[in-house]
Symmetry: none
Subunit: 401 residues, 2 copies
């Protein structure tokens, strides 16, 4: 029996509420004073939960695999990220807050520099984001549709943008229109199969149209298109887990990921305090809340150990407000590790804690990587997090008699 079938079969609806708090990139490795960020941070509330609840370490994908945010979140949401791949174009568009439909092909774009047919700079000298916005505005004004297919553009940072082609009969079976190296001739998107023919033709037309419009805009006088991808078909959380889920997140990418699995996206403001207000005011309306805190990851990526520690401490100080809602199941974890020492995502297992009426009291001395290793949940796959949350809220019936 497949996982999906099993959950559809045994999941049931009830009144109990689950809160899944994801501190992005939470995990760390020993760094300053030989401590991880969580070991350094003063977190009395998390420490108390680590004493009274069940802890462990979760592996986002598998040992040694460093995940991007997309796959790492899919795991936490109960979707096998090796089965449900999210294309690069879709992730880019989600990250920019675009609403993707099932009629779309999503594509990542770069502004680039071309000279006599040769790509001389794949990033157009990393033009300022403001200039990017002006160029996208210009392109949007001039290109509305191609061969009856709607063209939707959105600026990203520096040279990056996303493109949605919306219409019937589109396909992701199209190669990247990118020579990959500078100094090589321009490359147009090409069909990888008959089904990709229409999309490749439209995409190539789009490149030619932009070159006409941008001919005086050097260094941004062409575009490279990559990562053609369709909106992935995921069974909704409602269907698979019988949940009525909501997402509280401040960054577009995470809202987009949540929308992919059928969560309602709540208006969450900018700060953690705003997110907590959102949680409170929507408490009665949903039985599952995904609560995302972004900046732990951003500080990890910056290598800013102290700022990451500070943010963890700040979250800890706000945690009692969430606890006061008395969730039936509370989970605090990360989607992956982002050790400040590495300035990047990493493969290291992620501290995890769960508190419910049916959890063990692990009696740990704190909430961090080394203590969580001693917890009753052991080292386990993030893909099992959803089953644990559902079980602890009694939303799973017995399998077999």
């Amino acid at each position: 029996m497949e996982r999906e079938e099993l959950f559809e079969k045994i999941s049931v609806k009830n009144e109990k509420r689950i809160v899944l708090i994801v501190l992005d990139g939470l995990g760390g490795i020993p760094y300053l004073e030989g401590k991880t960020e969580l070991e350094k941070a003063a977190t009395p509330n998390l420490d108390r939960l680590a004493k009274e609840g069940s802890c462990g370490l979760s592996i986002p994908i598998s040992y040694g695999i460093t995940p991007g945010s997309g796959p790492a979140h899919l795991s936490l949401f109960g979707y096998d990220p090796l089965k449900y791949e999210i294309g690069r174009g879709v992730l880019e568009a989600l990250g920019l807050g675009m609403e993707i439909t099932k009629e779309d092909v999503a594509v990542r774009g770069n502004f680039a520099t071309i000279e006599s047919g040769i790509i001389t700079d794949r990033r157009a000298g990393r033009i300022p984001t403001d200039m990017n916005r002006d160029l996208i505005l210009l392109l949007s004004k001039n290109i509305d549709e191609i061969n009856g297919v709607k063209v939707i553009l959105k600026s990203g940072r520096e040279h990056r943008f996303a493109l949605l082609l919306r219409g019937k009969g589109l396909s992701d079976e199209v190669s990247d229109g990118d020579p990959q190296k500078e100094g090589l001739p321009q490359k147009f998107p090409e069909p990888l199969s008959n089904r990709g023919r229409k999309t490749a033709e439209i995409a190539s037309k789009f490149v030619k149209l932009t070159e006409e419009i941008l001919k005086d805009k050097r260094p941004a006088n062409t575009v490279l298109l990559r990562g053609f991808s369709l909106y992935p078909e995921l069974p909704s959380m409602e269907r698979m887990f019988k949940l009525n889920p909501a997402a509280i997140a401040t960054y577009p990418m995470y809202k987009g990921l949540a929308r992919l699995v059928g969560m309602k996206i709540l208006d969450s403001g900018e700060k953690v305090e705003d997110e907590i207000e959102t949680l409170k005011s929507n408490w009665e309306k949903h039985d599952f809340f995904y609560f995302h805190v972004k900046k732990t990851d951003s500080y990890g990526e910056d290598g800013n150990f102290h700022k990451k520690v500070e943010l963890i401490e700040k979250f800890d100080s706000l945690l009692p407000e969430i606890l006061s809602l008395k969730p039936d199941v509370l989970v605090v974890t990360g989607d992956h590790s982002t050790p400040a020492k590495m300035k990047s995502h990493s493969w290291h297992p992620v501290p995890f804690l769960l508190k419910s009426d049916y959890s063990f009291d692990d009696g740990l001395r704190g909430f961090n990587e080394r203590e969580c290793k001693k917890g009753s949940l052991g080292i386990f796959h993030a893909l099992d997090v959803m089953a644990l949350m559902l079980a602890n809220s009694q939303k799973l019936e017995k399998f077999g008699a």
Copy 2:
């Protein structure tokens, strides 16, 4: 390579004896005085084994999944319960001690109440078991076969019974003949495919015949038939593991499960003492003994913490008699957890201990959930228990050169 193929290839026969003791529903969660049943129980013999042997926690199916007895036992016997599904009808019939053959379709039945075509009580007011027996006797006398297919009936408790249809060309591709809710019109079993046509027809005829026979027996004046299922085809333990296995169990369901995988069912009496006598008198005849103690689960289901503790203590006091046989491999574990606090099966990992000449001495302070977590075996899948037992009795050859 499939698991089955691997074991067939590397398993070998030898003189060593394995005893797998399953205390049904053994695992618990913190409850009275913050202790689990095992933490509360005084178990000097188990504690000594936890000091001298290897311990761990086993996951019956996967994190968060609460198993029924069928799937949980299949795991312990080395059969993936997600691959080998046992139908509801088969489990019911096994539970009532019926011998199922490969020509049978097994079905769960309810006596029910019908009024002018409407099912008004799906359980016929939970008629007394005695009345059920009388009705089954009456039906058995009057219905011997239908369309050349043999009809075999057996009473269960209150309104429940099992039905075997025995003959050629039967199929499990038949829908439940059950409106699921009261106040709805009667529903007959229907074929889910062409193959199910014959079975559905016979089953519907059976319902009509029972209604004629029971027309004056209100509230039990009809039957609902559900869970049409075939005898599952499992490779025998002899074939897969080269074992000559025997089962010592007092309840029909567990005897039935053991029979499914080809164990010899020994006459085991009623009490744990009887079961130990059975073990002793058959010691020379088998190299694998499955030894099942039922009531730990029953007391857990009743929420009777103290009785479960008492039974664990009683088992512990009898354990030296089993040890005196000097099994080469001794395992003590449960098939799943049944915390008295929850009054039901649960998903929590199950304490596990193994003692052999090749096990580690974990030096644990006792045999319980929290100590086992620290054991050398860690948290692992129950599906791996059989390989551990075979390995520790040197019944598995090296895989590959």
